[in-house]
C-alpha cells in the first residue's frame, strides 16, 4: 500500500519544518491532513457519494423510527388496517396479513437489520483484525496454524456454518449476530495479515523496536493505525454481507419471531401465502430495502478501497 505514511507530508522523518510543535499536535495535524486527502479522493467517486447519502438516509430513518411509529401501529392483535389491503393513501405500501402498514414494518425493520448488521460486523471485523495482526506480527508456527484455520473457515460454506451454529444455539437475534460474526471474519483476517506484513517490513518498525517498543506497542501504536483504513473498507463491505445474511437467516426461520426485521417480514409474507396469491406489496418493499442498504454499503466500501488503492482508482 503506497498511500501509507510515506506520502503524508509532515511524516515521521521530514516533519517539523515549521515552528516546533508538540508531538501530539503534530500527530493530529498529520491525521487531519490525511483525512482531508482521503475525503478529496472519496469525493471524486460519484457512486461512493450516492452510497454514503443512501446510508445516511437509512440510518436517519432507523434512528427516527420511534418518532414516526407507535407500538399501536405494529400491534398484531390490534392492527390499524384490514389484512392484505393493497396500497392506498392511508397505507402507501399496503398492509400485511395482520393489517399493519408495510411502510411502518419496513421503517421499523431497519432498526433490527442495521443493528444486527453493525454488531455482527463489529464482531467479525474485530476478530479478523486481531487474528490478522497477531498472525502477521509474530509469524512462525503459531501464525501458520492461525492462517490454516482462517483458510479453513474461509472455504467452508458460510451459510451452512452459520445456520448450523444457529440451529444448535436456538432462534434469536443474538444467535444470528454470533453466527455471522463467527463465520465471516476470515476475509478480514487475511487482508489485515497481508497489510501487517507490508507495514512491518518498513524501517520505522525497526526504529520502534530499537527504541525498546515491545510487541504490544508495535502492534497497537504502529501496525494498527496503518491497518485501519483497509479495515474500514472491509467493514463497510462486511456490513452489506451481514445484512443480507441476517435477512437470509431470518427467512430460514432462525430469527427471533418477536422482533421485526426485513428478513422476518419476508418470511411472514411467504408463510401468509403472499407468493402464491401474488401480493407483491408484501414482498417487494422489505426486499428492496435490503437491496438498497446492502448496495449503499457496498458502494461506500468500494469507494474507500478505490481511494486507498491507487491501482484500483485509476481503473475507474
Amino acid at each position: 500500500m503506497s498511500a501509507g505514511p510515506v506520502e503524508r507530508p509532515p511524516g515521521e522523518a521530514g516533519g517539523g519544518s515549521a515552528a516546533p510543535a508538540s508531538p501530539r499536535a503534530l500527530a493530529w495535524r498529520r491525521r487531519r491532513h490525511s483525512l482531508g486527502r482521503f475525503w478529496a479522493g472519496y469525493r471524486g467517486n460519484r457512486a461512493g457519494l450516492a452510497g454514503l447519502a443512501g446510508l445516511a438516509v437509512f440510518v436517519l430513518i432507523a434512528l427516527c423510527a420511534p418518532l414516526l411509529i407507535g407500538p399501536a401501529d405494529l400491534s398484531l392483535t390490534d392492527a390499524p388496517g384490514g389484512p392484505h389491503e393493497p396500497p392506498s393513501a392511508a397505507y402507501p405500501l399496503g398492509t400485511d396479513n395482520y393489517g399493519r402498514s408495510i411502510l411502518d414494518l419496513v421503517i421499523w425493520g431497519s432498526r433490527v437489520s442495521l443493528t444486527v448488521g453493525f454488531l455482527a460486523t463489529l464482531m467479525c471485523v474485530g476478530l479478523g483484525t486481531l487474528v490478522g495482526i497477531v498472525a502477521g506480527h509474530y509469524g512462525g508456527f503459531g501464525s501458520t496454524v492461525l492462517m490454516r484455520i482462517t483458510d479453513w473457515v474461509l472455504v467452508l460454506p458460510a451459510l451452512v456454518l452459520a445456520v448450523a451454529f444457529a440451529a444448535v444455539m436456538g432462534q434469536g437475534t443474538v444467535t444470528i449476530i454470533l453466527a455471522i460474526g463467527l463465520t465471516a471474519w476470515p476475509t478480514t483476517a487475511r487482508l489485515v495479515r497481508a497489510q501487517t506484513l507490508a507495514v512491518e517490513a518498513r524501517p520505522y518498525i525497526d526504529r520502534a523496536k530499537a527504541l525498546g517498543g515491545g510487541h504490544g506497542h508495535v502492534m497497537t501504536r504502529h501496525v494498527l493505525p496503518n491497518v485501519m483504513p483497509i479495515v474500514l473498507a472491509q467493514t463497510t463491505l462486511t456490513v452489506a454481507e451481514s445484512i443480507i445474511m441476517e435477512s437470509t437467516m431470518a427467512f430460514l426461520g432462525l430469527g427471533d419471531p418477536n422482533t421485526l426485521s426485513w428478513g422476518g417480514t419476508l418470511q411472514e409474507a411467504r408463510n401468509a401465502g403472499a407468493v402464491s396469491s401474488g401480493l407483491w406489496w408484501h414482498l417487494l418493499p422489505p426486499g428492496l430495502a435490503i437491496v438498497l442498504v446492502a448496495l449503499a454499503f457496498t458502494l461506500c466500501g468500494r469507494a474507500i478501497e478505490g481511494v486507498l488503492n491507487p491501482r484500483l482508482r485509476e481503473r475507474r
Binding site: R148, L154, V160, G170, T248, G263, S277, G287
Partner: protein, 358 residues
C-alpha cells in the same frame, strides 16, 4: 510472464500428462515432476486435515454446545423420561467424551451419519436420494453462470470505463446486494404466480408434474420446472464470476507481453483471446473454486424457495423441525464436498499453470 507469453495453451497441455501419470518426461524440466508430487501430497494432506477439522467441529457443535443434546434434539416435542433415557443411551451420551468421539469417527468412516428424526431413515440414504436433483440444478446453473460471467467480465474488463463496463459492473454490484431467496420469491410472483394479470409461464415449484409420462415428456417437464430456479441461481452466481474475471483481466492489462502482442501487429480481438484471457483465467479459476461455498449457500436458498427436491431443500426441512442428525449430516456433507472441490482445483490447477509446479 515470459513462460505464458506467446502460446501458453499447447505447452501446458503437453505438460499435463506428466503431472498426472508417472513416466519418462519428454523434454524440459526433469526436476519439475518431483516437485509436483510433493505439491500434490501437501495439498492432499491439507484437505485431509480440513476434513478432520470439519468432523471435530461438527462433533463439538452438535453434541457439546447445546449442553443437553437430547433436549436440543427433541425441542418442542413431548418425550417421556423413558424415551429420554433411550435416546441418551442410543446416542452414547452415558459414555465419556473421548469414547463418544471415537464412536462418532467410526460411524463417519462407515458413512453412517445417524438417523433422521423426521424421516426415520438413515441420513446417508436421504442424502444419496436427494443428491441427483441438486447436481442437476447446480451443474446447469454453474455452467451457465460461469460462461455468462466470464464472457461479460472479459468484455467489461477489456473496455474498462466504457458504458458496457459500467452497466455490467453496476448490474453485478446490485445482484451482489440482492438476497437470493427474495429474488426467487419475486421470480415466482411475477413469472409463475400470475401477479397483475401475468400469465402463469412457469410452475411455482417442484421438479416435475405428477401426470407426465414418457421419457421425452419428462425431460421437457423437468426443464420447464428448472427454468426459474436455474435463472435465480445464475443471477446470483454470475455477478461474482463477472467481477473476478474483470479484475483478473485488469491485472493483466499492463503486462509487457500484451504490448509485445500488439507490436507484432495482432488484431485487438486476437490479443484479447489468445493472450490476455488465458492468463486472466488462471487466477479466476482458483477464485471460483474458493467461492464454491457460495454455490452451496445459493442452492440451499433456491431449493427452499422453489421446493426443489434436493439437498438444499432437505437442509431447509431439517432446520425447521429441527432435525439435528439431518442438519449435522448435511453440514458434514456440504463441507466435505467444498473441501473436495478445492482439492480438485489444486490438482487441476498445475495442469493449466506451469508456474505453480516449480
Amino acid at each position: 510472464m515470459s513462460l505464458s507469453s506467446s502460446s501458453p495453451r499447447p505447452e501446458s497441455e503437453a505438460a499435463a500428462p506428466d503431472a498426472a501419470a508417472p513416466g519418462p518426461v519428454p523434454g524440459r524440466r526433469p526436476a519439475g515432476r518431483r516437485v509436483s508430487l510433493r505439491y500434490f501430497a501437501v495439498k492432499l494432506l491439507g484437505a485431509l486435515v480440513s476434513l478432520l477439522a470439519v468432523m471435530v467441529t461438527s462433533f463439538f457443535l452438535f453434541r457439546v454446545i447445546p449442553g443437553d443434546p437430547v433436549a436440543a434434539m427433541t425441542q418442542g416435542r413431548k418425550v417421556t423420561p423413558e424415551q429420554r433415557e433411550e435416546l441418551f443411551r442410543q446416542f452414547g451420551l452415558d459414555q465419556p467424551l473421548w469414547q463418544q468421539f471415537l464412536g462418532y469417527l467410526r460411524d463417519l468412516l462407515r458413512l453412517d451419519l445417524g438417523l433422521s428424526y423426521q424421516y426415520k431413515a438413515p441420513v446417508t440414504e436421504l442424502i444419496a436420494t436427494r443428491l441427483g436433483p441438486t447436481l442437476l440444478l447446480v451443474g446447469t446453473a454453474t455452467l451457465i453462470a460461469a460462461a455468462l460471467g466470464l464472457w461479460l467480465g472479459t468484455r467489461a474488463g477489456w473496455r474498462r470505463g466504457s458504458t458496457a463496463d459500467r452497466v455490467h459492473t453496476g448490474v453485478a454490484l446490485t445482484l451482489f446486494s440482492v438476497p437470493t431467496f427474495w429474488l426467487g420469491l419475486l421470480m415466482i410472483v411475477v413469472l409463475a404466480g400470475g401477479a397483475g394479470g401475468m400469465p402463469h409461464l412457469f410452475p411455482t415449484g417442484g421438479m416435475g408434474s405428477p401426470d407426465v409420462s414418457g421419457v421425452g415428456n419428462v425431460i421437457v417437464d423437468t426443464a420447464h420446472h428448472m427454468v426459474l430456479p436455474v435463472a435465480t441461481l445464475v443471477a446470483v452466481l454470475y455477478a461474482q464470476y463477472l467481477m473476478i474475471m474483470r479484475s483478473s483481466l485488469l491485472d493483466e492489462m499492463g503486462s509487457d507481453y500484451l504490448v509485445t502482442a500488439r507490436a507484432k501487429g495482432l488484431r485487438d480481438d486476437l490479443v484479447l483471446r489468445r493472450h490476455a484471457v488465458p492468463n486472466a483465467l488462471l487466477p479466476t479459476v482458483t477464485l471460483l473454486f474458493l467461492k464454491i461455498g457460495q454455490v452451496v449457500s445459493g442452492t440451499i436458498l433456491v431449493e427452499a424457495v422453489f421446493s426443489w427436491p434436493g439437498l438444499g431443500m432437505l437442509f431447509y426441512e431439517g432446520l425447521s423441525v429441527p432435525d439435528l442428525p439431518l442438519v449435522q449430516g448435511l453440514f458434514i456433507f456440504f463441507s466435505a464436498s467444498v473441501i473436495f472441490m478445492n482439492l480438485l482445483a489444486d490438482f487441476v490447477y498445475p495442469l493449466f499453470d506451469p508456474r505453480v509446479r516449480t
